[in-house]
């Protein structure tokens, strides 16, 4: 039995975990659910030895785990799969796995033996592996998650902790993945699944622990609870989902026109292959696809940071882009909120005259936007890095919308966001469309696309295809996304 007793962990002035008790038994899948910032990942890091708690201790079968030692945790049989895969980008996948438990023990590196063991385990799980000698850097997010899961399992762990592993998987992969977790359970292992997807927790878990703001607020089972009840426990209030139908969005004249857009990468591989589509004023068009099918490149083209090999894009006004990786491409985390906001030229123009920045006006603008977009921050002088994920995304959305563009291009805009933050971001996007803006929403989350998009396009291997209204169901779309049918 895995137990955490009275774990407390503080980061600066934030209390991440406040006396948390947690236990998971052999042969069960234990879902750990909670909003962003509830302390789920912190608890995982404490159990996996990556973080030493301020108070409290973790035990496996009544043996105390050495605090703050990942090696001791692994030795005791606890392996973790992190939210963003902890892989070595420029090493081959075999080398990555050799750093795990496939290690043959000798001082010489035997990558052939490692690959053979990995293939044997992957075959058992129904995982596909990259070609021999491929480095990790060009693999898709889903492939990386598989590699990290494989590496964690290579330790033959008694406890496997997974942090939001499913948010990057396609629907078809998801089913296989949940089956894998069930298999691990039947083998008598402890599986701790960290998630904020409540349907998933209810579908696969035996027991559920709910965290809210660093405290355990409920311990329950799927039979005793429901998605609504869990959501209420997680948030402490009821989240009202924005109702896209009630907005009565109607597509006007095309604002964004993309014609025959083609991109070859440096090696001459075709990444985007003759994309053509239009987005009208007051319309939200969704592009669904499994990560790594050309979405990132499409966003880069639309943002103008890359030039196409062929084809053209025209827009009837300014385009604001909300990139997928908000911490790397979207915000400068070391800078203050107001500084981040005026990185957008239209906002900067509002607070500068003849090249001179009017700081007090910029701060005032920051204060206005924080209020209007309900960003939870002490004030405009706060450093962006101090915000939670959800509030960083609100900040990006605020910056995009306040710049008054004609078109917003958003990529995986709600990845990693909790229910309340997602609802808020969706509401803003819908409002923007209702006021005549054109939105292109690129996402691998079908629920999100079905909830707020008008037309849906599918991107697969760099090609795009329009879907008909009768294809508008998760199963069909999932098949189309994985390219099972063209």
């Amino acid at each position: 039995m895995l137990r955490a007793i009275a774990i407390t962990k503080r980061f600066g002035r934030t209390l991440a975990l406040d006396g948390v008790d947690f236990e998971a038994r052999p042969g069960e899948i234990h879902a750990l659910v909670g909003e962003n910032g509830a302390g789920k990942t912190t608890l995982m890091n404490v159990l996996a030895g990556s973080l030493a708690p301020d108070h409290g201790e973790a035990l496996l079968d009544d043996h105390r785990l050495q605090a703050g030692s990942p090696r001791a945790a692994l030795k005791a049989g606890i392996a973790a799969v992190h939210q963003s895969p902890m892989l070595f980008e420029r090493m081959t996948w075999e080398e990555n796995l050799a750093l795990g438990g496939f290690d043959t023990g000798g001082e010489l590196l035997d990558l052939v033996a490692v690959a053979a063991r990995a293939r044997a385990l992957a075959a058992k799980l129904g995982f596909e592996l990259p070609p021999a000698g491929a480095t990790v850097e060009n693999r898709s997010v889903a492939e990386r998650v598989r590699l990290e899961v494989l590496r964690a399992l290579s330790f033959n762990p008694r406890v496997l902790i997974l942090d939001e592993p499913t948010s990057v998987l396609a629907p078809s992969e998801l089913r296989a993945f949940l089956d894998l977790l069930r298999n691990l359970r039947t083998e008598g292992r402890i599986v701790v699944l960290i998630t904020h997807k409540l349907a998933e927790a209810i579908a696969v878990a035996d027991r559920i622990t709910v965290l809210r703001r660093g405290r355990v607020v409920a311990r329950t089972t799927p039979a005793e609870t429901s998605e609504e009840k869990l959501a209420g426990l997680m948030i402490g209030e009821i989240v009202v989902q924005p109702d896209a139908a009630a907005m009565q969005l109607r597509a006007g004249d095309p604002v964004l026109r993309v014609e025959n857009l083609t991109l070859d990468d440096r090696t001459g591989r075709r990444v985007l292959d003759g994309l053509s589509f239009r987005v009208g004023a007051g319309e939200i068009v969704g592009i669904a696809g499994v990560d790594g099918n050309g979405q990132t490149e499409l966003v880069e083209l639309l943002a103008g940071v890359r030039s196409p090999s062929d084809g053209k894009m025209t827009s009837g006004g300014a385009v604001a882009v909300i990139p997928q990786n908000r911490d790397l491409d979207g915000l400068i985390l070391d800078m203050r909120l107001w500084e981040n906001l005026i990185l957008a030229r239209p906002l900067r123009e509002q607070v500068t005259s003849h090249g001179w920045l009017n700081t007090s006006r910029a701060i005032e603008l920051g204060r206005e936007l924080i209020e209007r977009f309900r960003i939870r921050a002490p004030g405009p002088e706060t450093i962006a890095g101090a915000l939670s994920g959800g509030n960083r995304q609100r900040l990006e959305v605020a910056r995009a919308i306040a710049s008054r563009p004609r078109v917003i291009v958003a990529h995986n805009i709600c990845r990693g966001l909790d229910l309340a933050a997602t609802a808020e971001v969706h509401r803003r996007i819908l409002e923007f469309a209702a006021s005549g803006g054109a939105v292109l929403l690129i996402s691998s989350d079908l629920d999100e696309l079905l909830a707020i998009c008008g037309r849906l396009l599918i991107i697969s291997r760099g090609k795009i295809r329009e879907t008909s209204p009768d294809e508008r169901d998760p199963e069909r779309l999932g098949l189309l996304m994985t390219g099972a049918r063209d």
């Binding site: 980061f11 996996a48 030895g49 990556s50 973080l51 703050g68 030692s69 990942p70 090696r71 001791a72 945790a73 692994l74 030795k75 973790a80 992190h82 902890m86 892989l87 070595f88 980008e89 420029r90 090493m91 080398e95 050799a98 750093l99 795990g100 290690d103 000798g106 001082e107 010489l108 590196l109």
Partner: protein
Amino acid sequence: MLEAFLVSVITMATPILLAALGELLVEESGVVNIGIEGAMLSGAFAALTIAFFSGSDALGLTGAIVAGVAINAIFAVLVVNLAVNQVVTGTAVSILALGLTGVFYRKLFGVTGKAFMVAPMAKIPLGPLARIPLLGPALFDHNALVYFTFILVPAIWYVITRTRYGLRLRACGERPEAADALGLGVIAIRWQALIVSGALTGLAGAFLTLAYANTFVENISAGRGFVALSVVIVGRWNSWGLAAASLLFGAAMALQFGLQALGTVVPYQLFLALPYALTLVVLAGFGGQAAAPSALGEPYRRQ
């Protein structure tokens, strides 16, 4: 003439290569040590002083290892344990060593200007190989440090690319937080790399005083530590590449001495500048950074 030139190339290349191989290990672990110059100077000073008073080269070399390791240990405490900026620390360590060796030298040997000489390290001709015309004396009639250095080239290549330890070392340089999560012990591995590098750099310094100049003068390393840093870049983080770059730079230095002696019209300073110019060309033209470890120079600190 040609033979003397080849001997000179090897002599010039050896200390640079020895220090560069140590730096390669350090950089693979994710640390960049600009303080090589300091460790080299300290090694040079310790070797000469101990060899001069004891009359033993072996003791001198041991002293150089201890001095190099000590300097790198100061660097390691600051950079690895306290996560201080690596460039700033390395520069400080270089300046510290320059000052310390200068002060100690004057204290011990006075400022008479009289050179304190030691006998050059013994040469070990490699049997019949040393009798091959031209190549024999150039390649197979050197002191032990030269052979040691060139044997290290394949040895370090093997360790980095073919062993478990090398994989762990590279993991720390690629993504320390991931290496830490796998229980690799980033701090320990970086310390180990810096200790080994300290020993090698100390020996490189000893080569300057015991085998090349046979005495000590202030700042005897004269920028060779920085050349070693360049060698790692030009050699693209591969020990064979490091050997090639060292020989190239060694040839430029040997040529410069030759031209100086001959008094030709070509300004010899041009050849002195070659290593640095070449480093810039490699960085600008061939994507030098693409071969560098991803987390190079980034301090690693757990949350």
